[in-house]
């Protein structure tokens, strides 16, 4: 029996989510991303295919400031404009029953008290189908939009994220004990005040009194995702994440990535399978190999390599738009230029390693992770990924919603036939669907668990004292 993978549609509430330039493709409808029907249809398509979740990425600012300033960002639609993902989730949950929703929210966008309630509300409305992709913003403009003069230093961002998580764990897990809601009309007792706690968090960045304003939702803490690539990021993910997005170069390269993550999970006191490892991928499908190749060539014509290099310059923190194509990226690391962690991560995970050049990066940001072929060819490749040790695939769109309709119509049925994909949803919350035989809520050894009884115990102790 092959390993059954989970599947996720990767998108963004904007005109140009991933493969830059695709907004120019005649079939792409991402420019109409403000039309709610586009999303309701996407949600129905995903659920029809038994896809596990729609994942909506986000940015809190503009890519840049490299390569012709910010002008190119607007002109070429480089992940810009980009609107709120959570509103889409609230809309899409109304037309689905089982589909999960995961979205990105940066610690700099929302105060954790407000954010925690937003998540609880959506977890309630969806009956426990939401997940949060935890990010710390890496763009200077994101920080300048919310009052910071500059980008916060990389490791400091993760310390910030740890405190942010501490606050939301306290609110989600600790503030309301199970059984706090009594709802006894005859006795006029809606809730038992002794089971609802202020959290009185006082930390480096936040002071939060509480209690959480929302009742405990089905999952309490949403399913936690993370995509950190740096060492600090991976360690953070190992401590907290239940889903980790990775970008292994090939199925052959995946086992090393997988092993690194499983080792880190164990080092963090968790079980090696406590986080699902989800690989990015894209598909171009045709009824024959020829048709698929024709389609791929047609899509490639719309690829905007210049825009992609502007985006990469932002991610790598250095202007690469005019760089020598033969420049080895490892020399940037040696010279201490740009965001060394990100560049080093790219170099380390690239098959060419230290010899990877700007030209290789160009290829990376355009056509990497693309599988082209008939449904059977694609299923063969997915089979190789399934054997590589990863747990799921995050499917990146070429066109919206074309790539996803293609997946549902042509690829999913073959994957299901081969046992690589579920034919029906497991019951329960998103957490229960992703992790068989676990409950709806996070449990020990996940760090959130220790916040569950934290305030109850404290008060008991106080009374005893």
């Amino acid at each position: 029996m092959p390993k059954q993978l989970s599947y996720h549609f990767f998108t963004m509430n904007g005109t140009s989510p991933n493969y830059l330039g695709m907004w120019r493709h005649p079939e792409d409808r991402a420019v109409q991303h403000n039309d709610v029907d586009l999303w309701l249809d996407l949600a129905r398509t995903a659920e029809r295919a038994c896809v596990d979740s729609i994942f909506i990425a986000d940015l809190a600012g503009q890519q840049g400031p490299f390569a012709a300033g910010y002008d190119k960002v607007a002109e070429r639609s480089i992940n810009f404009p980009v609107c709120d993902p959570a509103a889409l989730v609230a809309a899409m949950l109304t037309v689905t029953k089982d589909l999960g929703f995961v979205w990105t929210s940066s610690i700099i966008q929302y105060h954790p008290f407000t954010f925690a309630r937003n998540i609880s509300t959506l977890d309630h409305l969806s009956k426990g189908r939401v997940g949060w992709n935890i990010v710390t913003s890496y763009l200077e403009n994101s920080y300048r939009n919310v009052g910071f003069p500059e980008l916060t230093e990389h490791d400091e961002r993760y310390r910030w994220a740890e405190e942010y998580l501490e606050v939301v764990y306290k609110l989600w897990e600790g503030s309301w004990e199970d059984g706090a809601i009594v709802a006894d009309a005859a006795r006029s007792v809606f809730a038992d005040p002794s089971k609802i706690h202020r959290i009185n968090h006082v930390g480096e960045r936040y002071s939060v009194e509480g209690p959480h304003l929302a009742e405990p939702s089905p999952q309490r803490t949403p399913v936690l995702f993370q995509a950190g690539a740096s060492d600090t990021g991976r360690a953070f993910a190992a401590r907290n994440a239940e889903g980790i997005f990775v970008m292994a170069e090939t199925p052959a390269a995946a086992p090393a990535v997988v092993k690194d993550i499983r080792d880190r999970l164990v080092a963090a006191g968790r079980r090696p399978d406590d986080a699902k490892i989800i690989q990015g991928i894209s598909f171009v499908v045709g009824s024959t190999e020829e048709e698929a190749q024709r389609k791929a060539a047609e899509l490639e014509e719309c690829l905007d390599t210049e825009a992609a290099m502007v985006q990469s310059s932002g991610v790598f923190g250095i202007d690469l738009s005019d760089a020598d194509p033969d420049l080895r990226l490892s020399t940037l690391v040696e010279e201490g230029r740009g965001s060394r962690g990100m560049i080093k991560f790219f170099v380390d995970s690239h098959p060419k390693g230290d010899r990877a050049t700007v030209r290789d990066l160009e290829q990376y940001v355009t056509t990497r992770f693309r599988v082209v072929g008939s449904p059977e060819t694609i299923a063969d490749e997915v089979g190789r990924w399934a054997e590589s040790g990863i747990d799921g695939l995050n499917i990146i769109q070429w066109t919206m919603p074309g790539s996803y309709v293609d997946f549902a119509d042509h690829i999913a049925p073959v994957l299901q036939e081969r046992g690589l994909m579920q034919r029906q949803y497991a019951p329960g919350t998103l957490r229960e669907k992703l992790f068989a035989d676990r409950g709806a809520r996070l449990t020990e050894p996940h760090p959130a668990d220790k916040y569950r009884e934290m305030f109850a115990q404290r008060e008991t102790a106080e009374i005893a004292g």
Copy 2:
């Protein structure tokens, strides 16, 4: 021809929005407020009745800290728990075409950069049907939830709100010029960068670089509502609001309230009809007077007067739960106890004036604004309100969704027959529906208008210089 009023359903994403204690009523479903179907049905009911909007109030913290601390708040469900209203809006817009959505968001809950994008997203998805009720939080716990040691002083809160508005006006109105989006695939130009501007706001509380991450939505600025009762609050509303919630004691008392607001609008350089004045009201309807009275008595049995006094203590900033029922509230003002502005406002607007007592307040927070009777009796009373100079009614629920189903089934048809209520929606956005013959966007003399060309002009000036 009688004056046609606008109608709004006033609710909250919580177990106990307004008439406290109603969660104990066998027909009330507010305790199930986390069930999205409750809201989708409510939205359909509202649209079937041709109601102008659903208005969702919100709190950023617990009522209090007076009267038995916060315990009563949980035990009696005093506006607690309370979840995010915006998520409901995103869900409800999927099943409606014309209904408007207005919700409360406090300036302390969201950073204006994030908030502006959330609003733009929902204005897009709803095709221009959203409104924002601007509030500054008055509860100590709300401030302590987001890092402030105590309640910010009343007038300072409004200064804060003015800067908040300045930021969001700049983002909504100024950041993107009309015509910025080109979407010319052949030329590879999605947007014209010269028409998209950083706002570079630097103020007392906020530094925001921009640009706005969302494309301009149909209304750009949502329809702005406000309910300030103090002198500062009224002045703020006169400068900015397009809908002002009032609580006149009777139709006879309304003209003075209406005149005050119209005068203030003119004093602020706006037209007297630039803001709709919307009065709070509730209905208990029966097919006969007797049936209605029976129903009212049954509802009254569920009223939790003690809870209502805890709530009032929070609003008035002083513990009134054990106060002498005959204590004149005006003495509190004289003695400088509690939130003088709020108490003074109550005293001034009460028919008994200076002689209004704690007992009168008790009556106010329980059954005031209640109209009981047959559909015809209720329509008579609405007719008196229509003659009083107000523009709309904000209908407060007794039970959820019972009060609103009753309104749609029994009251709206009679109001429509009498010409007191629209039979069909006007075309266009919420702003166009509420203000006939005006556009979708705010225009001069509203202060938002001056931000429209602000950045474009500046750049032109720079070039000229």
